[in-house]
């Protein structure tokens, strides 16, 4: 059964407890591990040693794309492809092209942000070993878990279990992959 193990999971009852434990797991040098919480806990990313999210870069790229799309689309249509005189106004001006480009900036940023969040999180992922854990239901309700994966270089069934116990984890169990 050893090769089928995904990792170890431990249960915590309060956000403070899981955050305190996460700090110790981080300090122990683990890298492939995770915390399961029913709601976002303020400061947990620092406690886990997770850096600043990279979503904003994708959003920025989306926003710039959107703005350029708007401007070039209007230039192409009204100045290049089919210039049409309306009220003697210029065929193209960034001023009247601005509102539409502005809206497209926001539209593209929204898609990039959400798409980027899904890609960075690896979602949708309808199968995951953590979801097979029989008590994981509480992880979207009122309990908190720490999962340490076997793929982590420092993983050692006994030592990792001892660490999880030391930081206050309860019901420490194995996850099957």
């Amino acid at each position: 059964m050893a090769d089928k193990t995904y990792g170890l999971i431990a249960t915590f009852d309060t956000p403070g407890a899981v955050m305190h434990a996460a700090e110790q797991v981080r300090d122990a040098g683990y890298r492939n591990w995770d915390v399961i919480t029913p709601f976002p806990i303020h400061g947990l990313d620092q406690a886990m040693g997770v850096g600043r999210s990279r979503v904003p870069r994708i959003s920025l790229a989306g926003g710039i794309t959107g703005f350029c799309t708007g401007m070039s689309m209007i230039w192409f249509m009204d100045k290049f492809d089919y210039p049409l005189t309306v009220g003697g106004k210029p065929f193209f001006s960034p001023l009247f092209a601005f509102p539409v480009s502005y809206e497209l900036t926001i539209l593209f940023t929204a898609f990039a942000t959400i798409g980027g969040m899904f890609v960075l999180n690896g979602l949708p992922m309808h199968y995951h070993p953590v979801l097979n854990y029989d008590k994981i239901r509480r992880g979207t309700d009122d309990q908190f878990f720490i999962v340490i994966e076997k793929t982590d270089g420092r993983f050692n069934a006994d030592n990792t279990r001892a660490l999880l116990a030391k930081v206050g984890g309860k019901d420490i169990g194995e996850l099957e992959s």
Binding site: G16, I36, P99, Y102, I106
Partner: protein
Amino acid sequence: MSHAESEAASPAILSELKPAVKPRAELVGHGRSFSWITDKICNIAEEKTPVWWWYCFIAACIVASFTVGGIIYLVSTGVGVWGHRSPVNWAWDIVNFVFWIGIGHAGTLISAILCLLRQKWRTSINRSAEAMTIFAVVCAGIFPVFHIGRVWYAWFLFPLPNSNYIWQNYRSPLEWDVFAVSTYGTVSVLFWYVGMIPDLATMRDRFAAGGKLLKARVYGLFAMGWRGSGRHWSNYEMAYLILAGISTPLVLSVHTIVSFDFAVSLLPGWHTTIFPPYFVAGAIFSGFGMVLTLILPLRSIYHLEDLITQYHIDCMCKIILATGSMVGYAYAMEFFIAWYGANPYEGFAFINRAFGPYWWSYFIMVTCNVITPQFFWFKAIRHNTWLVFILSLFVNVGMWFERFVIIGTSLARDFLPSSWGYYSPSVVEIFTFFGTFGVFSVLFLLFVRFLPIMAIAEIKAVTPQGDPHAEPVTDPHGKDPTVDTVHGR
């Protein structure tokens, strides 16, 4: 920041004045636990369909059929079945469009602007307010699409290649409106859905535990396999913050562009620079009116008093008071500028608004929009749920009349008395508008029945026990527990 630093940074006078430390208002009453919050909100969608829901749903369907009937008659006969005729060629369709779009804006305000301002009380009401936004945009969209008459050409609004080889006129605010409203609808749906993913995962797990595997699969499909991972939350929170950050300029720009539909014209009463801020304030005002109209019955039916506390109602009433006063100021300023600008047509347009043939609608508008919100200065009124509900209805009525006053009076009497007219709606218009309340209610009732009506995860995060620093026992920073009881509250 350490205690010593904050002392040094604060003005010296504070140590003399010794301001009282006021406890924060409770956002979740009775110190309810995480699992209580989950149960309470999920049960609404999980329980057997209540009888009142069926009555309301059937009634809403009947009302909605008026819109369906009105539209079928319009499309099969022609746009002449509406009461539009020269000089008023633009009336209830645009009034209703602006009315519904404006209602939607409070949802975005609650979910985006209050998120950026860290107003934690938004968590109890943001989900239903966002749903309201989307359904209001659906109702708003009906009017511009069908007012073109030949609705099968509605796709001409979008820059799609067509056999005429002609493109849209991007110099026109009406084309800006197409982009603004379609972006607004899309981003609102995305924002709503992203906010709902963790709660859909909660419902998935509850259905799976209860043995309802089909429902678990359907909710699970939309939950995207969310498992509450800390690494995911980090990206998720960032994405949510960015969405809030872009929705804020979005909501302001949408109603600004809606106001440009009028302000960019040369018509007296429309051609004013105050329109964008005035429209945005009015939109938020009307939207909060609608939020209260929807949430107060829900709160009472489902006994949500611990989640939507008196504090939440107070906050919403105060926003209505603030935006209502801004709207009142805008009415006064329009009159002042009409006089100060010394343009006789502009001056006449405003005298005509208040004392002309549409004086009655102006009177309803001022009564509902300027006088009604002033009642919210009084705590006794804010604490009387029935009164708040009734006043919120007045706000909705008043804001519809505001749009009617702006659009109707300016068009009916512009420059030349020889081209003046008087507009009355036809029965088809009245039916179509009346029916949109049914369309809106049908959608909202389905939302209440099938989706988590409150942001479960977000509410947990603002409870005292959701704050990882609120627990002296496990607090890693060793803060003084007495301080925490103040901040945790």
